[in-house]
């Protein structure tokens, strides 16, 4: 496919998937905002999920979902235990910065 025809085909595909693209874009915007807040509270000794949730005003179940995800992608590590909860810390790497 030539560059010109691909550009045209992509334009058409974007028009076909307009609704799902808009939905995905809104999700990404929200996720980026929440992740930025979450990462700001993961510096230093780290924090537990309820502590982060209280600090940033996001539901704690959503916080643990993000933490598990960031852990899967190597951006967060589990730290020491604080009562029944584990603390989580940010990993300062190139991949974390890129994401």
């Amino acid at each position: 496919m030539s560059d010109e025809s691909k550009k045209e085909a992509m334009k058409q595909l974007r028009a076909e998937r307009k609704s799902s693209i808009q939905k995905a874009a809104a999700t990404v915007k929200q996720q980026k905002k929440e992740l930025k807040l979450l990462k700001e509270h993961l510096t230093g000794d780290g924090a537990t999920a309820p502590e982060i949730a209280e600090a940033i005003g996001i539901n704690v179940s959503q916080v643990i979902w993000y933490l598990a995800t960031l852990k899967q992608y190597g951006e967060v590590v589990e730290g020491t235990k604080d009562g029944c909860y584990f603390k989580y810390q940010l990993v300062e790497t190139d991949s974390a910065e890129a994401a």
Binding site: L13, R17, I21, V63, Y85
Partner: protein, 429 residues
């Protein structure tokens, strides 16, 4: 593969779970050519998603992965994943199947499974392979030991931002991929379509999925798996390490109100297995199994049950009446104990429902093979030849014919392969 292509082989295996893989390997080792079609993005079925198996507590992945790899590398086996079976019939010694392979939006031949696309993708989506407890990306390798190790893009969550395409070193991303229809012509087929579990939402008395920290047994498998979402067992509502965990047996089976009056046959054993694994990972936690009766009927199963009791796992005989949210994310279970203590309510940090089992595939309108009252594929000689269906040349293996555990599924898969082999020999392959 080209649209409209016809593939010929000796045997078609429908389903790439443990039963399908075993049947395919047994036939391929006898020098028959086999094609496996699988509905998921990876072969391996339910078993590859489990933590350990009972009663040996062997690592499930360590058993399944070599079989998956053997099938993928076998010279006589061809695997097609992400497929929908549209039509299957046998007549005059020919089995004909019409299959649609759904688009991955990634070129299977070009993808090298490097996951660069996954890391570059900005969209986090719930990871069903991890029980929804964490996220994956809109384009991803399905799970770490998936076969084939080929990425797939979910168009529902894709923004067409182009980041994956930009980082792919082999140019494998193909936003314009279309479904491919093809035909398989074989001499015989084995149906190994497996089972699915009822949802957590099916029973209002058990919270209808709205009670936090009530999870399914397959979700617990992910929590127990070493490569699970948290790499340890935590409560999904807040990340707390649970102190008290309960299992509710027959939560979707032996229950006419759920439309599943039959026993799921393996729930008692996997609940005991999970309880034992929890006892190992959380030694101070209270672990309770609420049951109607324990069905430990296989080799070594009764001893496994007795070992669990000796480890301190509590078994409470009584049908749970209802499950409700309690304070601080706890779950209140109300039940009538059969020891005469009457109606009691107990709070737990985490509750696991042993849900019902039903067939994962219905042949209705696709294949003229008969099903029983329970909707599983009917076997015509269940006592002496449990893999025979009522269609000549079509055999059944594993949970497609009824709920059964891994051991029975593998033995039955071997039997189905033998029946298919005999059938092929009689045809004069």
């Amino acid at each position: 593969m080209a649209d409209g292509q016809t593939i010929t082989c000796d045997a078609l295996v429908v389903g790439g779970g443990i039963a399908g893989l075993q049947s395919a390997l047994d036939l391929a080792d006898q020098d028959f050519s086999v094609v496996i079609i699988e509905k998921d993005l990876s072969i391996g079925g339910k078993m590859i998603r489990l933590s350990k198996v009972f009663p040996t507590l062997d690592c499930s992945s360590c058993i399944t992965t070599p079989k998956m790899a053997s099938a993928a590398h076998h010279k006589n086996i061809t695997i097609h994943t992400w497929c929908d079976l549209k039509f299957l019939n046998s007549s005059d010694g020919i089995v004909r199947a019409h299959v649609t392979q759904k688009p991955r939006f990634v070129d299977e031949d070009k993808c090298i499974g490097c996951r660069k696309c996954e890391y570059a993708c900005p969209v986090y989506v719930p990871d069903s392979e991890q029980g929804g407890f964490c996220a994956t990306k809109a384009v991803r390798i399905p799970f770490s030991n998936a076969i084939p190790q080929v990425a797939a893009l979910d168009p529902e969550f894709c923004m067409l931002c182009g980041k994956c395409e930009k980082v792919c070193p082999t140019g494998a991303i193909d936003y314009f991929q279309k479904p491919v229809d093809f035909t398989i012509e074989a001499k015989t087929a084995i149906l190994a379509t497996g089972f699915e579990m009822t949802t957590i939402k099916g029973k209002p008395q058990y919270g209808d999925g709205d009670v936090q920290n009530v999870i399914t047994s397959l979700q617990m498998e992910r929590l127990l798996a070493p490569h699970g979402p948290y790499n340890r067992v935590l409560r999904p509502s807040d990340g707390m390490e649970p102190d008290s965990i309960a299992f509710v047996q027959c939560a979707g089976s032996r229950d006419k109100s759920m439309g599943i009056p039959y026993c799921s046959r393996f729930c008692c054993m996997y609940a005991i297995k999970q309880a034992m694994l929890l006892s190992g990972s959380l030694p101070l936690a209270d672990i309770i199994i609420y049951y109607m009766d324990i069905r430990a009927f296989g080799k070594g199963y009764e001893q496994f049950y007795q070992n669990a009791k000796a480890m301190g796992i509590q078994f409470v005989k009584g049908k749970v009446a209802n499950i409700q949210q309690a304070d601080d994310g706890a779950v209140a279970i109300r039940y009538e104990a059969q020891d005469g203590t009457g109606v009691t309510t107990e709070n737990h940090d985490l509750v696991v429902l042993s849900l019902g089992v039903f067939p994962d595939w219905s042949p209705k309108g696709i294949c003229p093979v008969s099903t029983g009252k329970d909707n599983f594929i009917q076997t015509v000689q269940p006592s002496i030849a449990p893999t025979l269906t009522d269609r000549e040349g079509l055999f059944v293996a594993g949970a497609a014919a009824g709920p059964k555990d891994i051991v029975d599924s593998i033995s039955e898969a071997g039997a189905a392969a033998m029946e298919a082999s005999n059938y092929l020999m009689a045809l004069g392959k």
